[in-house]
Each structure stands twice: as structure tokens, then as C-alpha cells.
Amino acid sequence: MRWKTAELTGWGRVLTGKAELARPEKPAALSQILKKSPAPAIGAQRSYGDAAVNGNGRAIDMTRLDRFISFDPETGILHAEAGCSITDMLDTFAPQGWMPAVMPGTGFATLGGCIAHDVHGKNHHKAGTFGQHVVAVDLMGADGSTKTITPESDPALFKATIGGLGQTGAIVSAKIKMIPCSSRLIQVDERRAANLVEFMEMLKASNATYCVGWIDGTANGQSLGRGILEEAELTSSNMAPKRRKPRKVPFNAPKFALSPPTVRLFNRMYFNRIPKQGRGVLRSLKDFFFPLDKIHDWNKLYGKRGFHQFQCVLPDETAERTLRDMLRLIADAGLASPLAVLKRTGAGRAGLLSFPMEGFTLALDFPNSEKSRALVAQLNALAAEAGGRIYFAKDSLATAAQARQMYPELAEWQKTVEAADPEGAFKTDLIRRLKLRTPA
């Protein structure tokens, strides 16, 4: 196997590292590579920070292992290689009446990546995380041998693998249980929320299958925390969805593209585009689930400096107060981009390091600068103080101490991981930065 020298980077393009990359096209080739030179497996590199970066080391690109191995139309169980993308699953199986039970915000994410981060979607309050729909994982160790693990066969290893950041081995393939998909169109109802209190009440009261809020990170004072609530249900329409050709961001955007006045103006227009009494629209599944996938390389909009995504989840008890504090800080700093989400989360999580907890999750992007790094550090501290968590798939600025405080099951996870990978062959920059495999 030839190794290719490549610059690895997260989607946020702030944390980077030079690494040697192999890209096997068959599971047998992957096994050969691991035997000779064990290294962490990476997928579509859509996590924002350094989860898929192994600077000055090696990594294995799994995206060419992307075949569907079997599908049972009776049960909806799909066995697929880890490099399959969520979009590929949706495109192939939606016409056959099935779709992944949980879909993250980008369809480019791979099956392996969705498992390793135990991702969630716009239906977390109802369906839980991606990992809760994983029936079995084929895990390849540093010795190149494959073991199929299920929640029953290896409960500890399974819980350390789901959301386990690739540290228990390379996820070669997995079986997931999909859900019926009645249509390729989704009915979306959009309503304005005038401020944070109203927004949180609307989110709590919503009984929709899919529910997500866009929040205006520039609004302050009376309008602090205003936004738009989107509730959605699959339809029974058989109409084929309209599809627009994806566009591409051809080059790094200049700084003014996301300067505070531009963002304020954009956000005001975005908010006011929804009539006061709300509105209903029909969208294609892909437009609703992966709104940004239509713009390829949208991370270039932040220019060469890249950006940080802050995402936290806060428990119900502290959510309102903490969100208010956070949004004030954000609005006062005037650094937010238009991409900001407020969502309700349920208790569902499948792994020891899974992100969600019952409460609310807030996610915002900030163009990378000294000021924004200081702001995100403040937000991270607020999240820790409030008993919340930050998301490893997004993080680039948390501290090792915060990770320990936020993830009480870390020690239990470490025990299983050390047994599975005693040599530390699967460590990545994220693991080293947050000292996730160093005993407390």
C-alpha cells in the first residue's frame, strides 16, 4: 500500500496536521495495512475540530470502503461498509421506502463517522442518537482481525465504540436499523419566536417528529434569543422532489463576507422572511436534512483563517439562565455567523462519550480570531459550570479539565479502550489535545 502525504484538517479548517494517508478499497487491504502500520481510521472529515487529524502520524481514509453489503426489506436492517455516506443511504433506500433513523446535519458524513461520534439529528428528542439504531459493528483491531460486536455480545466494548472517537479500533462495517420513509418530501412549518423564553417554550411544547430552531446570534435586548422554529413531518406525497444542482464555493471568501454588519443585516432579513403568522412549505428530504450540502465547500465562506463551531448541550435546570448568559456574550461580541441552531434534546445516547443529554443544545459558528477564541473559551466555561457538555465532533478549544468534568464516564471508557488498543495506535490529535486517554 502506498501512503500519500496529505494535509488533514477538520471542517472548521483551524486545526490541521500533516499526515501520511492510506486509502484501502477492500476490507482485506485495510487488514494488511493495520497489521503493518496501525493508524486511526477517518471518514469524510466532516467533524469540525481535530477528531480526524493525526498530525505527524498516519491515518487511514475509509471513504473507498463504501458498499452496501446486505439489506433486508422486511426489517429495514442495512449492513454497510463504514465509508458509505448518509446521502448515499438516503438516495438508495428512500425510493425503496426506508431511511436512516437518525441523520446528522450533513449527508456527507460516513457511517463510521456517525457511529464514532454517536451523532444526533433533528429528531433526537424522539429517536435518540444514531448509535441507538446500530445493531452490530464490525470492528478491526490493530492486529488486522475483525470482530463483530453487538450490545448483547460485548456490552462494554460496544458502549466504548459508539461515540468512541475511533479509539477501540477501525469500524469496517456496521448494521443499522432504518425506519420506514413514506415519501421523499417533507412538510415543514416555520414560525417566529420573538425571544429566548418564547423560543424555549415553543421547542418544549413541540410534538413534531423533526424539530429544529434557527437562532439569531446578533439579536440583543428585547429580541435576545429570537429565531425561527421549524417543525416537520414526512408526507405521504408521491411527488418526486425538485432538485437543484449543488453549487460550490470556488475560493476563500474575503473577511467582509461575514463581518458583523453583514451578518446582522442577513439575520434580520432571514427572520423577517417568515410571515408573522408562520408558514408551511414542502421540501425535499435532502433540502430539509442537509440544507448546507447544496453549497459544496461552504467552509471556505469563512476565508483562510477558518472558523470555530461551538456546540453545547445544557440540562433543563440550568438551560434558560445559561443560554441567556451565552447569547448576551455572543450578541455583545458581535462575532456570530448566521449559522446558529437551538434545539431540544432528549435523554437518548448510546455510548459512554455520547454528547446528548435531556435539555437544549446551542450551536454557533464564529470566524477564527483571537476575540472569537476567547469568546468560545468563555462559552465552554459557562457550559461546564451549568453541568452541560461540549461536542467532541465540533470542539477545537475546550480544555482537558473541562472534558473530564463534562464526561463523567470517561474513566470507564478509558478502561475498555486501553484493553482494546493498549499500544495507543488509534490516537488522534483530539485525543492528545484533551488528554482523553490519560488517566485523571
Binding site: 502506498r2 501512503w3 500519500k4 502525504t5 494517508l21 486509502r23 478499497e25 477492500k26 476490507p27 482485506a28 473507498r64 458498499r67 452496501f68 453489503i69 446486505s70 439489506f71 438508495t92
Partner: protein
């Protein structure tokens, strides 16, 4: 009615991508390569993606006895039989210079082997009155260069055969596309220095399908290689012989 596609070299990245493309069009597939386990998995993948059927048949271009089972698997389906030939090998020119046998194998994998296979298949295609052969040649076959002229010579020979076969199959309603891909992002080119304008296997597969539907004679893919090669071919030999492009 669904047509049949034989895909020689279905284990390669381009072969796999084209198999998927044909699968989404509802074709019957006969997938042929050297690794049975891996082929079975590609067959299952193609079925999930809409193939009418997918047979996985062991095939080695250096073993002519492996050809007949493929003809038989294709003949088992009714209707038109098409073929896409992705086999070939490119040994580094240095290895060839060190050991002439290595050059022989490159010629066998990229030229004489595929030619023998296609020559056995031609009467079957003629009997079914139609069908397309997608023969994957190479821009390296357009002019001999110091870097890989054994491979280039093998591909040039293959191009000439394909042109003759096109002439022949045309009489029974069949067609042959001579395909000249530039750099494609596959295991063969992974990590090699000096690659530029690299195309994804999916892009190539889409181009191949379009060329099949439009019955193109020669396909440069991506298209701009036609112009790059036009320039390279136009360099006068007295100058060209001194270059190392």
C-alpha cells in the same frame, strides 16, 4: 428490457463505479475480477442499488480458461450484451527496463489478454444484434514517452484493436467506444507524485455512460484531455525526442 453489462476488472475503483452506474440503470451485471469475496460484496452492493441481477464470476486476464464462464453468465440473460473492459496493469518503466518479463505481463494485462477476451465475445454480441464495448485505453497510448512507453505501447495496440472491432460490430448494430482517461483517483495513482487534474471514478463512470448512450467513437475523459493530448501529439518528433513530459 434490461440489458446485460459484463464488467471486466470490477474490483478496480473505475470498474466498481461503472458497475454502480449500470446498477442504478437496472442492468443485469456480470462482474468479473480476481478476488471472489470482494466481487461478491460488489455484487450485493449493485443489487441494493437497483441491478436486475448481479453475477460474480472469477476472472484472470492472464488465464484464458477463465473467459468461458463469463460468456456463459452473460448468455444466460436475454437481450443485448454490453462489455466494459477495465483490466490492465502499469508496471513502472524502471521495473520493465530491469526485467523484460515485467513488460510482457503489462502487454498481456493491457493488450493481448483483453483482446483475446473481446475476440471470443464478438460473435456472441453479433448474434444478439447490438451492444456496446467500452474499451478503457489511455492517453498514454497516444504517444510514446520515456516515462511509460511499454504501457503506452500496449494501450496503443488496444486502441487499434478497438478501432477494428468498431468497424466489425457496426455491421451487426453493435458499437465500440475507445476510452482514453487522464489521471483518475484510484489505488493505481494514489500517492504518486506529479498527478494533476485528477478525476473521480464516479465522474469517469458518468462520462462512460453518456458515451455509451451517444455512441461516441473516442472518449477523452475528463474532456480536456483531448486538448492536452492534441498539444502533446502536435510536438514535432525532433523536439519531442528531447523532452521528458
Amino acid at each position: 428490457m434490461s440489458q446485460t453489462w459484463i464488467i471486466l476488472g470490477a474490483g478496480s475503483a473505475m470498474g466498481r463505479a461503472f458497475a454502480r452506474k449500470a446498477a442504478t440503470q437496472g442492468a443485469h451485471l456480470v462482474l468479473a475480477a480476481r478476488d471472489q469475496d470482494d466481487l461478491d460484496r460488489t455484487a450485493a452492493d449493485c443489487l441494493a442499488r437497483g441491478a436486475a441481477s448481479a453475477a460474480a464470476v472469477l476472472f484472470d486476464v492472464r488465464k484464458p480458461e477463465s473467459f468461458a464462464p463469463i460468456y456463459d453468465a452473460a448468455k444466460a440473460n436475454d437481450g443485448i450484451i454490453n462489455t466494459a473492459v477495465f483490466v490492465g496493469s502499469m508496471a513502472p518503466q524502471d521495473d520493465v527496463d530491469a526485467d523484460p518479463n515485467v513488460g510482457d505481463l503489462t502487454i498481456q494485462d493491457s493488450f493481448t489478454g483483453p483482446v483475446n477476451f473481446l475476440h471470443g465475445l464478438a460473435p456472441i454480441m453479433e448474434a444478439r444484434k447490438g451492444g456496446t464495448v467500452l474499451g478503457i485505453g489511455s492517453v498514454a497510448g497516444d504517444r510514446g514517452r520515456i516515462g511509460n512507453y511499454i504501457y503506452g505501447a500496449a494501450k496503443a495496440g488496444f486502441h487499434t484493436y478497438l478501432s477494428g472491432l468498431r468497424n466489425r460490430l457496426n455491421r451487426s448494430g453493435g458499437h465500440v467506444v475507445t476510452v482514453k482517461p487522464g489521471f483518475v483517483d484510484t489505488a493505481m495513482t494514489w500517492g504518486i507524485e506529479g498527478m494533476f487534474l485528477v478525476a473521480s471514478p464516479e465522474q469517469i463512470a458518468q462520462d462512460l455512460w453518456t458515451a455509451h448512450e451517444k455512441r461516441k467513437n473516442t472518449l477523452y475523459t475528463p474532456f480536456f484531455w483531448r486538448y492536452i493530448m492534441a498539444i502533446i501529439k502536435s510536438i514535432p518528433e525532433p523536439i519531442f525526442k528531447k523532452l521528458s513530459v
